[in-house]
């Protein structure tokens, strides 16, 4: 009984373990590499919905490297359903310029090794990624997982008690930092938008030079 509880706790915390062990030597923000990932999905449930596209953007030494961006469409998608309303990607486009999901997940896995993962609402994206990484036997654990949504939520909760639902959307968060409004909503635009948001969030913390990555994990 205790054992099963322990297993549950372990599995719940699995992805946070590396950071628990590395607590003493977390890298400085300015010296680290982070991969900002965004997924376009057909729905919110990893078990019944699919990944339409994945994009990632590299942050190295506090700078977003536009040379290193990737935007991949999944040619394996079976059921787009109503999702094109959100991401605007049609079946034709997927068939034409898409890649096999396994190929995409392996490429992402290779990029993610020894880096930290950044998402806006990480539990959703990481849930999907974990499912497929397991499926394809890609065994990569990010150094840290950083969630710009949670950073923003904690920041807001320090100054107000009640949060409206739409205060934490990517666009709303960006507006608070005076970041430009993006017209496009593909995975790549959103990944860059998330990366810029993280830069802005970090910049508003004190003493840039000594911020460690684990300070950003909530």
């Amino acid at each position: 009984m205790y054992l099963s509880l322990l297993v549950e706790v372990y599995s719940a915390m699995k992805w946070r373990l590396p950071q628990l062990f590395q607590r003493t030597e977390s890298a400085l923000w300015l010296n680290s590499e982070l991969l900002v990932v965004d997924l376009e999905l057909t729905g919110l449930d990893p078990n019944s919905h699919e990944i339409v596209s994945i994009a990632w953007v590299l942050i190295k030494n506090g700078r977003i490297e536009l040379q290193q961006v990737q935007h991949k469409l999944n040619s394996d998608v079976k059921q787009l359903a109503q999702s094109p309303v959100y991401h605007g990607i049609g079946e034709h486009q997927l068939a034409q310029s898409g890649e096999r999901l396994e190929q995409i997940i392996r490429a992402l896995g290779a990029e993610l090794a020894s880096k930290s993962l950044v998402c806006h609402n990480a539990s959703l994206d990481w849930g999907f990624l974990q499912k497929y990484m397991n499926q394809y036997g890609v065994n990569v654990t990010p150094v840290h997982i950083i969630d710009t949504l949670k950073i923003e939520k904690n920041k807001l909760l320090r100054s107000q008690t009640y949060l409206a639902q739409d205060q934490l959307t990517l666009a709303a968060c960006r507006r608070r930092y005076g970041l430009p409004t993006y017209q496009n909503h593909n995975a790549l635009s959103d990944a860059l938008a998330t990366a810029e948001l993280l830069l802005a969030q970090v910049s508003h913390l004190d003493r840039q030079g000594v911020i460690k990555l684990r300070n950003l994990v909530c």
Partner: protein
């Protein structure tokens, strides 16, 4: 779809970059390249030192936020916002970044590494031109800000000589005198427990000790001026001067914020500052009591200019300044002559020509001046002006302004005359445009009033106005201008001249500045503009249709650039002939700008010939 090498750029960034100059005027591939090679940072006042103080150089493009570009002396050069670039001067010149940023509103900034910037420069000429022009503009605009602070704005601490010489109030007067002798000062600060309580000056020792027959063994407290006026180290020199004048005192103790005495500032310290101020020198010239004093003051000019050229950014201002000083010398010498020789028999005025009139004088410039007197003059009265001309010209030579080899000086009868006689001289040059007449026109049509009866100068101008509208004369001038070729070849390479020591050089004056001056003079005469200074003429030409706005701006830029370069080399490279330069010694940016300037002059030259000399060529 091709494989990953060509990365799909982020559409939003591409949209933004494509809208910015110079990308908006370049093929999409250029913006594409930019987006695929840029980095993004978010700059706040807290992190800018970490993110910008990198040893790598970048072209910065602002996506959001507001930043002030601040120069080394803390003045805001310009405010930058969305779509503005910075960092390119250092990328173009290879020099260190001089300005720094002050963040007003935090925001996103794109960084393009030097190697990618250089790639775009090579690939796209318009890209290159955009930043070279922007840099030129930045340089020019920074020259117009008055940078060399006048001395009244200096802080008192900068003028204060030695550290504080202090004594306790109970000390003997004789000890105070010995202390002053040892320190070589004319005053001492009396302090009690480190705080200012009084001062003693040389004058106090005379008036309150010797004259009052007080024993030298008496205490300092008996003769000091208690609770003296003082000034803080951060106050301006002007405040110190004001305080001294107001209370008729010559010594001011200088204190820091904690009221600890730091030293003394004296009226002599302030006077020493004034001496280095050209404006003060002009003032002193106007007050000089004898021609000896005028000459003595004139002797200070070269040293003063050398010091001054370090503090002014726009060194072409030195030309204006030297002309101003020469004007002052001539005016004062004239007044001194009138004091000796009596009032003039009729109204007269001094005029000047050439570089003095254009306010382009250098230390090597020679005299170009003349006297105009009333048409009503009687023959026997002319002798007065002959003597005036000889007196002023002679003393100007003693002042260091050489005699004109061509004899264009009021000591020469050819350069004195009534209004009608002057008009007649001009008429000959205009009607019979011989080579000598053309040469004279170039000198005499740049003229300026200096001293005397201004109405005479006006009537001279009126007399010349009708005369100047001679098509044949303009055609001759245009032809003459076209014979002086710009030192640039068909493929934009420099055509160098060679002196007898085999030094290869370009003459910036004859082959650059002079051509611009000639062109602008011709257009100004055509439009009847009574100004001599080239920049003023260009500004005035904006109201006439003879030159497009763009042509005027281009000529203004060229003139400024060449003049600036010319003054710079006068200071830096003395081994070549005056006004000459070896382009090898220029930075690549300067070489580029120089070619561009020559190219623009060539175009203006061709346009001028086409406009004025169509028939005669």
């Amino acid at each position: 779809m091709t494989h990953s090498q060509s990365v799909s750029p982020v559409v939003d960034v591409l949209d933004f970059v494509t809208k910015q100059l110079p990308f908006s005027e370049l093929p999409p591939s250029c913006a594409h390249f930019y987006v695929n090679h840029a980095k993004v940072v978010y700059i706040t006042s807290l992190n800018q030192s970490e993110l910008l103080a990198s040893t790598d150089k970048y072209l910065y493009l602002i996506r959001s936020g507001v930043f002030d570009l601040v120069n080394t002396v803390g003045e805001v050069v310009t405010r930058l916002g969305e779509g503005d670039y910075f960092g390119y001067p250092s990328l173009l010149t290879g020099e260190e970044i001089k300005n720094h940023l002050e963040v007003q509103t935090s925001g996103l900034v794109f960084l393009l590494p030097q190697q990618d910037f250089d790639f775009l420069r090579r690939e796209y000429q318009k890209f290159e031109q955009h930043f070279v022009r922007a840099h030129k503009k930045r340089l020019l605009s920074s020259h117009y800000q008055e940078r060399g602070r006048a001395w009244p704005e200096h802080k008192v601490s900068a003028l204060m000589g030695k550290s504080a010489v202090t004594i306790e109030p109970h000390a003997r007067i004789v000890d105070a005198a010995k202390l002053m002798q040892k320190a070589g000062v004319s005053s001492v600060i009396v302090t009690e427990k480190g705080e200012l309580s009084g001062i003693i000056t040389d004058r106090d020792l005379r008036n309150r000790v010797l004259a009052a027959e007080l024993a030298p063994s008496a205490s300092v407290a008996q003769i000091m001026t208690p609770n003296p006026k003082f000034i803080f180290e951060n106050n301006r020199a002007f405040s110190a001067l004001h305080l001294m004048l107001k209370h008729n005192i010559h010594h001011l103790p200088v204190l820091n914020e904690e009221r600890v005495p730091l030293g003394m500032v004296t009226s002599t310290d302030l006077l020493r500052q004034q001496k280095h101020d050209p404006v003060q020198l002009i003032g002193q010239i106007y007050k000089a009591h004898s021609h000896q004093e005028v000459i003595r003051l004139a002797m200070e000019i070269p040293a003063l200019l050398r010091g001054f050229s370090n503090t002014v950014e726009d060194i072409s201002f030195i030309g204006t300044l030297l002309s101003g000083l020469t004007d002052a010398l001539m005016s004062r010498l004239t007044e001194l002559f009138i004091q000796q020789a009596g009032e003039p028999p009729c109204s007269f005025c001094w005029i000047c020509f050439g570089s003095q009139a254009r306010e382009e004088q250098t230390l090597h410039s020679d005299q170009d001046n003349g006297l105009v007197f009333s048409n009503a003059i009687l023959d026997h009265q002319r002798d007065y002006f002959a003597r005036l001309g000889a007196y002023v010209s002679g003393h100007l030579i003693s002042c260091g302004i050489k005699a004109c080899p061509g004899g264009i000086m009021a000591s020469n009868a050819q350069c004195r005359g009534t209004v009608d006689e002057w008009v007649l001289r001009y008429e000959q040059w205009v009607h019979t445009p011989t080579p000598q007449a053309m040469l004279n026109s170039k000198i005499f049509f740049d003229r300026r009033f200096i001293y005397g009866e201004q109405a005479l100068y006006q009537s001279l101008n009126t007399g010349l106005r009708a005369l100047q509208q001679q098509e044949l004369f303009f055609a001759a001038m245009a032809t003459d201008i076209s014979t002086n070729s710009v030192p640039i070849g068909l493929f934009m390479q420099f055509k160098l001249e060679q002196d007898k020591h085999k030094h290869r050089y370009l003459d910036l004056k004859i082959r650059g500045v002079a051509i611009v001056n000639d062109l602008v003079r011709l257009y100004a005469l055509k439009c009847g503009i009574n100004k001599a200074n080239t920049q003023m003429r260009l500004a005035a030409l904006k109201d006439f249709g003879v030159l497009s706005k763009e042509d005027i701006y281009n000529l203004q830029d060229c003139w400024r650039f060449l003049t600036q370069l010319r003054f710079k080399i006068q200071i830096e490279a003395p081994d070549l002939p005056p006004n000459c330069i070896n382009p090898e010694h220029l930075s690549s940016l300067e070489r580029h700008q120089l070619k561009e300037a020559f190219h623009l002059i060539k175009q203006a030259q061709q346009a001028c010939v086409f406009k004025f000399a169509r028939g005669s060529l």
